[in-house]
Subunit: 215 residues, 2 copies
DNA sequence: ATATTAATACCGACCAGTCGGTCAAAATAA
DNA sequence: TTATTTTGACCGACTGGTCGGTATTAATAT
């Protein structure tokens, strides 16, 4: 009178995990349900016990990858006080997250990205809403900038424009890292990025804070 | 003994033109051959008289859009002398090209982009090679920077890193324009972009040249 | 203990729809 | 008439999702 019980959440996680792996390897568009099933070592039909559709898995994978990033940023925001340092940490975080050895994740992120654009206008079933995520990130950065301006640390730039620029640069560089990893010197680009984006924001002396990690 | 003659180049152009329109409207992945045929007001089979495959059309469309941009940049490079002005013109060009009323083109560009990434590792049949394009653009920007440095106008930043950053920022902002056009103030972002990316490069007074168009 | 049983998890063959590409016939221009 | 172009019906490969049946588990009865 009592059935087999499984930890449904754990199983979903198992499937999403497998899916991300396959996505990374073959690209979202080229991933078949059977691929995911095999990677998760379950039958194809079983997937449909936990997810309504391929789309559903896609969304779950996206949200999972995103939530991680959000948490880390939350930590940064609640931590250090100096706005320039906060910015630097966020840039570092983003750059590292992708630039790390997990280049394959970057590719997945790109897929999400492309999909997100494609679904911008149409109903988009509430599945992904990349736009919302971007608006949110932009607001985080803009908030830090405003904060810095209020403290008289930053020049009088439009915070939202600056945020757009910073986020855009982050993303665009990601693309190039993915594509031309062997050509561009990633560490160097990262340093240039931080230098440029943060120094240009500061009022007088760029050395008010030290943009270099002490070694 | 001397049958019907058609301008094959013109017909190809007609098809590519139609294809770009459909790509813009529905996204490359969702475009069917029949859609292109209908848009070009020809039969589906006819397409195959001029293109080997869908892939082939895709590549042709990509190259067509790209060649335009290349030509314009060529003009810029051969024109004005001051490196900062050249940079500014290139940024303006890129930002306008997409930001203009032709937002739909941006979406197509994104599709190319996404596809380009997906095809980075595998053989990629020589069809698209986005990487090559990027390497090329990067080298153009880097060249201008080096030039400016040689003339003692620019600070001693790594030209290639700077170029990566600039191109990345350009692309990333494009994404945001496409996605959140109604939220971000595009003109303002553009201005911030130019200010930031060019001023940070200049040695002392940012006003050595006037980054504002005289009115 | 252990056999029974009911509730659930799991599976993969199958289905129905889709779409890129082909080809034989029709249309067309010279 | 004839060389060439155009065409859309057709083909076949592919794939997301379904469904009937099987396996597994744990509560219950003995």
């Amino acid at each position: 009178m009592a059935p087999k019980i499984v930890d449904r959440e754990a199983k979903k996680e198992q499937i999403v995990h497998a899916a991300i792996g396959v996505f990374a390897e073959k690209g979202v568009a080229n991933t078949k349900m059977i691929d995911i099933a095999r990677a998760a070592a379950i039958g194809k039909g079983t997937i449909y016990e936990y997810f309504r559709s391929k789309e559903d898995i896609f969304a779950a994978a996206y949200n999972r990858m995103n939530r991680e990033m959000e948490m880390k940023i939350g930590q940064i925001l609640s931590g250090s006080e100096h706005p320039a340092v906060q910015l630097q940490m966020i840039f570092d975080l983003s750059l590292d997250y992708f630039g790390h050895d997990a280049v394959e994740f970057s590719a997945v992120m790109m897929d999400f990205w492309a999909e997100g654009i494609r679904r911008k206008s149409p109903e988009m079933m509430g599945v992904i809403n990349l736009k919302e995520i971007y608006d949110q990130y932009r607001e985080i950065i803009a908030g830090i900038v405003r904060n810095g301006q209020r403290q008289g640390l930053f020049i009088d730039v439009d915070p939202v424009s600056y945020a757009s620029l910073a986020i855009g640069a982050l993303d665009g560089m990601l693309l190039q890292m993915v594509m031309s990893a062997e050509i561009i010197d990633i560490a160097r680009v990262k340093e240039t990025f931080k230098r440029t984006m943060i120094q240009c924001l500061q009022k007088e002396k760029p050395n008010t804070i030290n943009p270099e990690k002490k070694k």
